[in-house]
Symmetry: C2
Subunit: 108 residues, 2 copies
Amino acid sequence: MDDLTEMLKGTLEGCVLEIIGGEETYGYAITRRLNELGFADVIDGTVYTILLRLERNGLVQATKRPSEVGPPRKFYALNDAGREELGRFWAKWEYLSSRIDTLKEGGR
Amino acid sequence: MDDLTEMLKGTLEGCVLEIIGGEETYGYAITRRLNELGFADVIDGTVYTILLRLERNGLVQATKRPSEVGPPRKFYALNDAGREELGRFWAKWEYLSSRIDTLKEGGR
DNA sequence: TAGTGGTACTCGGTACTACGAGGTAGTGGG
DNA sequence: CCCACTACCTCGTAGTACCGAGTACCACTA
């Protein structure tokens, strides 16, 4: 697939929120998950940037826990604000994708 | 609807291409069309920057024609490169939206 | 014991895009 | 004459994903 970079703007953060909402997890695993899901070119640096932003904006709670196979992991969980933001994200996505599909179908 | 600015990045240009592909038209009318279609907060300045970019990148051909109700209009039509780019845009959109929907459905 | 590969996070800088605010101009009505 | 509507352009800003480099911990092997 071509470069999706620009199209991912504004949606990738929501995807990360959704993944965290599914289960408490950490950056490295989130990157792997995204790659599996078809976001093949998303790299770890991007994910960590998003995670720090989410933390700074008070949408997640982070907890550092030791790992048996490497350095400690920083686990993230959604808080109430994060769940609200996730809801807003999906509402925006629904809205946008319906508009785009309308346009594609001939836009009446 | 909340602010869609970030989510529009990478898709708005494709929407403009699609509109031009439907019929030869001009900036002011494209802005109105987008607003009607639900992209309510898109302003003319944004559309003009996109149109100039499309022209610079050789995806459209522009023709200035006089108007009877105001200043001359700059009409845009897709060329071959523009039609190819439009095809790539829809392919990317299909890809992205299917991935996002997969994630939303529980992401297996 | 030194090296390699996989795991895990952070930071500084870059490129691209949409937006905001302002300016220029033509037409016609009160 | 002033104002509204039409129509286009421009400069600066903010936000986001990406890139590159750095740091560090662990396990395995030569």
